[in-house]
């Protein structure tokens, strides 16, 4: 199978950058070879869709705003009423979800080729992404595994918190290189590593 090309291109430069003499504030990397599926439940079938997502992925969710779960490369999170991102490195994710979610329960859109996932981790990650997004990244307001839909410079982004200092940023693939450069500028003052 052909190796998918990263939209980051030459903007992806592995190594240490910015003010790293005093330490590495954040680490940036691109998560590759994922399947990214958006699922929307009809208003009266949200519990049934959550059960179906659970049976297809092993990640069971309750119906609560923004709630999500992470298990290794697999993750799921809500970002609007009845709307979920389901993400996995498993190539048959879409097939599994399609057999679990009928048209009576909801709809599915495969966003795999439309989004790039950038993972930012490290002690200064909250500080750096707070420069781009006007939401509260502190852990009491944005707990581990929860998801968000928000904007940077009027452009839509989905965010999931992976652990206390790590976030996955889902940005439009055609905008990913520009976003990556912006993120690098935002991280310069704390020193950042690209890997």
């Amino acid at each position: 199978m052909a190796e998918p090309r990263s939209p980051l291109g030459k903007a992806f430069v592995a190594g240490d950058h910015g003010n790293h003499a005093a330490g590495i504030g954040v680490t940036l990397r691109e998560r590759k070879n994922l399947s990214i599926i958006q699922i929307t439940a009809w208003a009266d079938s949200i519990p049934a869709v959550l059960t179906a997502i659970g049976s297809a992925t092993g990640l069971v969710l309750q119906n609560k705003p923004g709630l999500g779960r992470v298990a290794g490369e697999k993750s799921v999170f809500g970002f609007a009423p009845g709307r979920y991102f389901v993400v996995s490195a498993t190539p048959d994710l879409e097939t599994r979800l399609r057999s679990a979610i009928s048209a009576e329960l909801g709809t599915m859109v495969d966003l795999t080729h439309g989004r790039t996932v950038i993972r930012i981790g490290g002690p200064r990650s909250e500080w750096v992404i707070s420069k781009l997004f006007a939401i509260d990244f502190s852990e009491h307001a944005f707990p581990v595994a929860y998801g968000r839909a928000t904007l940077h410079h009027d452009i839509h982004t989905n965010i999931q918190r992976i652990d206390d200092e790590t976030f996955d940023l889902y940005v439009f693939r055609t905008f990913a290189r520009s976003f990556w450069l912006t993120l690098g500028h935002a991280a310069e003052e704390v020193g950042y590593r690209v890997e």
């Binding site: 970002f79 609007a80 939401i135 509260d136 968000r148 839909a149 928000t150 904007l151 009027d154």
Partner: protein, 91 residues
């Protein structure tokens, strides 16, 4: 101005779009009462105090909201999903 979305929580107003007066009532579609239609489309009371209005959280959960806002102070006293109000779940 911060709007407390029922799904997303407190968000800056930049994520929202104003969608107009939520107190209007559309005349019966079969009606040919010109004054009623004219009033529905053009007349706004523009009160100095509390006002019910539609907003769209386009920069977040993309839900339509009904917000009660004080037009003088911008203080927001209630926010709810428009669809739950239409369904009669809250007012």
């Amino acid at each position: 101005m911060i709007i407390r979305c029922p799904y997303c929580g407190p968000r800056d107003v930049i994520e929202f779009t104003y969608q107009g007066d939520a107190t209007r009532r559309r005349p019966d579609p079969a009606s040919s009462d010109q004054d009623a239609w004219n009033s529905y489309i053009y007349d706004r009371t523009n009160p100095g105090g509390s006002h019910r209005e539609f907003w769209l959280h386009g920069g977040g959960c993309r839900q339509h909201l009904v917000i009660t806002r004080d037009m003088t102070t911008h203080a927001i006293s209630s926010v709810a999903f428009a669809r739950s109000i239409v369904a009669g779940e809250s007012s």
